[in-house]
Subunit: 114 residues, 2 copies
């Protein structure tokens, strides 16, 4: 699990929200002060209260993966406000179709030699 | 562009937010009253004010694609609160790697017959 390496610094979320970072802060393990942009993106796209709600509904061991996937989505949406990470999904779906077609053609060629 | 088919009904967003759906409502073209779940998901994951801000920063012709990609992301996050649509990206990336490997092997086999 990620943890704040600067023991006396508030986590990136509390710093951004200008509030005291209390022991047990739900954001602190996932938003270290060294990565301010990670929280800034998540806050801009999802909002701090939605993320708090989501994390509280998860088991502790699921929260790091959840934060990292939220941070990935948020960064993609900041970069591409129209498609966000759905743009990556469309691209990958086209790649899969193209590769499947090429593989089918190669296998058909191989059958002729078999 | 999608539009509200029920002329007298408020759009799904205004109905959800219990407010009057005024002419020129930024949500109305993309959240018809027949699809209440679409707005409910987007509201739960992104929040209405974040979506309003995002749409206002886009050109009108970009908004339908933006809403549909947000609705896709929101539905994926409701279904899978830990990975959301990043789960689909990971799955597709593995598919691409697997197909590329199979294609490389098939092409190597073909070279032996060439």
């Amino acid at each position: 699990m990620a943890s704040s390496s600067s023991y006396n610094s508030p986590c990136a979320a509390c710093k951004f929200l200008r509030r005291k970072c209390m022991p047990g802060c739900i954001f602190a393990p996932y938003f270290p002060p060294e990565e301010p942009q990670k929280f800034a993106n998540v806050h801009k796209i999802f909002g701090a209260s939605n993320v708090t709600k989501l994390l509280n509904e998860l088991l502790p061991h699921q929260r790091e993966d959840a934060v990292n996937s939220l941070a990935y989505e948020a960064e993609a949406r900041v970069r591409d406000p129209v498609y966000g990470c759905v743009g990556a999904i469309s691209y990958l779906q086209r790649q899969v179709q193209k590769l499947q077609k090429e593989l089918d053609a190669a296998n058909a060629d191989l059958l002729r030699y078999a």
